[in-house]
């Protein structure tokens, strides 16, 4: 996954965070959780999946860097 793709998905997620289309909807999902809150819970899971994809497909460190162990030099 290239940097422009990562940045584009990140910006799309930022736009999706602004859930103005739900701002007046007070309905409760399953009679328990307000729909606005369910939306942002789903958003949180998507954010975690996005970072999982970044870690797997766009990790900036090479294996050599990754294997570099701690300790002051």
């Amino acid at each position: 996954m290239s940097s422009p793709v990562v940045i584009t998905i990140f910006l799309v997620l930022l736009v999706l965070h602004q859930d103005f289309w739900l701002k007046n909807d007070a309905s409760l999902v399953a009679g328990i959780v307000p729909i606005g809150l369910v939306y942002h819970m789903a958003f949180t899971v998507v954010a975690a999946l996005f970072w999982f994809a970044v870690v797997r497909l766009a990790w900036p460190y090479s294996h050599e860097d990754d294997d570099e162990q701690g300790g002051d030099q």
Binding site: L22, N24, G31, G36, M41, V54, D65, D66
Partner: protein, 506 residues
């Protein structure tokens, strides 16, 4: 009484952990300050997460949800799920690499080297410490509010003035003492271990509180149906521009000195992977129970069906403590209170270590030279400064309290406002010393001006032109950085080579 005993047992466990950690302490400052850069993925994740979740996340979120509804989660938690990890990826990871290669222990060491200015450290130090104090204050105030809410009526003769509840001044004193003990015992290694343990405790206890309270209110559906439904929507509780500008607040993690130090403890770059993915999910696990408890509190009534659990006019800070105190059994109440204390202490410890490290490395050693002090003297100096800052913070808790959520936001706004400084330092080769000075002075001055204009956090609805103050501080800092850098000489080639050598570092 039962709740107090359970909390005391929990604090005893932490003291034992501190003792155990001290047995492994290698006795040198590198181990004390960055745990010899040996922390693996799980402890790094738990430690960083525990550090970012404080009274703000539990006491503050519940109170804010009670005040303005479920929009609290969207405006700060779900945005943090995306942006915190972005900060770890874009700032924490490169800083770890630069810190390891160049032997940095603190943010200020990094900025001094990057901007080729020793004096920049003397300017940054009081600003960073000054911004940490409200953060520490949030922790101590939150702990005091919860203990007071949970133990109401437990000690009628001993604490008559607080209705028999343990007064906040005593909670603050005990909490500070316990955290000081275990970080003095083993420094950042001890804090990392304690954070790992405490993060587990507060996530589990938050869930237990959620289940217990909902059961007492007649189940999840009954609890939600009782709530004030005007708090189930964003409209009327927060404006679009306010919601949008709140997205800048999570950038604060990129400038927290304690998180910088946490990042330096990592064993390898790989250690960050779990943090990037797990952090958003852990935020959700911690915040959702608190947000729903705050939402339910808007309409919850006692089993008599008439008496509100939260009387009108109650301070938002007291909502979580009162919901737990009134609706949970004493044993569950004690366990949940211990969990809340865990969340609070898991932030205080890292912040204490960070201010001690900054003072020792950035002021004392930088001014007088390392040769002048032995390893044990350096650790002693760090401890002395930490005690001074804790005392100052403690004295602040004795004056008129502020809403935990509001004060936390002001603190985060200051750090988030300075984010352009660290971002430019890592990614903009032409960012200069003059730009850095202008950014720090402009950001700090605008924050101080706005904080003063809000009555030092007293006006909880304070905004500037319809947006959160953080937007103004951020913009001021960014503009100053850009203009200052454009009108001055670029940094030397040696510095550029040192900081922009590899692609991963910009």
């Amino acid at each position: 009484m039962t709740q107090t005993v359970i909390v005391v047992i929990y604090l005893g466990l932490l003291l034992s952990l501190g003792y155990l950690s001290s047995r492994l302490f290698r006795g040198n400052s590198n181990d004390y300050f960055v745990a010899s850069r040996s922390i693996g993925p799980l402890v790094l994740f738990m430690s960083i997460f525990g550090t970012t979740m404080t009274a703000f996340a539990m006491v503050g979120s519940t109170g804010e949800s009670y005040r303005v509804g479920i929009a609290t989660y969207g405006k700060i938690a779900s945005s943090s799920a995306l942006i915190h990890s972005a900060c770890f990826f874009l700032v924490g990871l490169p800083l770890w690499g630069l810190g390891k290669r160049n032997g940095f222990h603190t943010q200020i060491e990094f900025f001094r080297a990057r901007f080729e200015s020793s004096k920049l450290g003397y300017l940054l130090f009081p600003i960073l410490v000054g911004l940490i104090i409200p953060y520490l204050l949030v922790g101590l105030m939150g702990a005091g509010s919860v203990m007071q809410g949970v133990t109401r009526g437990a000690f009628p003769e001993l604490f008559a003035s607080t209705g028999g509840a343990i007064p906040p001044w005593l909670t603050g004193l005990v909490i500070s003492g316990v955290v000081l003990y275990y970080i003095f015992a083993g420094g950042v290694r001890s804090a990392a271990w304690a954070n790992t343990f405490q993060t587990f405790v507060f996530i589990v206890m938050g869930f237990i509180a959620f289940v217990t309270i909902s059961t007492k209110l007649g189940g999840l559906q009954a609890a939600s149906s009782m709530a004030d439904h005007s708090k189930a929507v964003r409209s009327g509780n927060i404006t679009e521009m306010q919601f949008l500008s709140y997205c800048l607040i999570p950038l604060s993690v990129g400038m927290f000195p304690h998180l910088f130090q946490n990042c330096l403890t990592a064993k390898s770059a790989k250690s960050f992977r779990l943090t990037l993915v797990g952090h958003p999910l852990a935020i959700m696990l911690t915040w959702i129970p608190c947000i729903l408890i705050g939402f339910w509190a808007t309409g919850a009534v006692m089993p008599d069906g008439v008496t509100p659990v939260i009387p009108e006019g109650t301070s938002p800070n007291a909502v979580l403590g009162m919901m737990v105190g009134k609706l949970a059994t004493p044993v569950i109440g004690g366990l949940v209170t211990a969990g809340i204390m865990a969340a609070i202490m898991s932030s205080l410890d890292s912040q204490f270590v960070a201010v001690g490290t900054m003072f020792t490395k950035d002021i004392v050693v930088h001014s007088f030279g390392k040769e002048r002090f032995s390893e044990s003297q350096l650790v002693l100096l760090a401890r002395g400064f930490i005690c001074t800052i804790v005392l100052v913070t403690y004295l602040f808790t004795l004056v008129e309290p502020r809403q935990v959520f509001s004060l936390g936001i002001w603190c985060f706004s200051g750090f988030a406002g300075l984010f352009p400084l660290v971002f430019a330092a890592i990614y903009w080769k032409k960012a200069t010393k003059l730009g850095a000075y202008a950014a720090v002075i402009g950001g700090a001055a605008s924050w101080l001006f706005l904080f003063q204009a809000s009555g030092y956090g007293k006006n909880t609805s304070y905004m500037v032109g319809g947006v959160m103050p953080v937007a103004v501080v951020f913009a001021t800092c960014a503009i100053c950085m850009i203009l200052g850098s454009l009108v001055s000489q670029p940094p030397s080639q040696e510095t550029v080579d040192k900081f922009f050598r590899k692609k991963a570092n910009g």
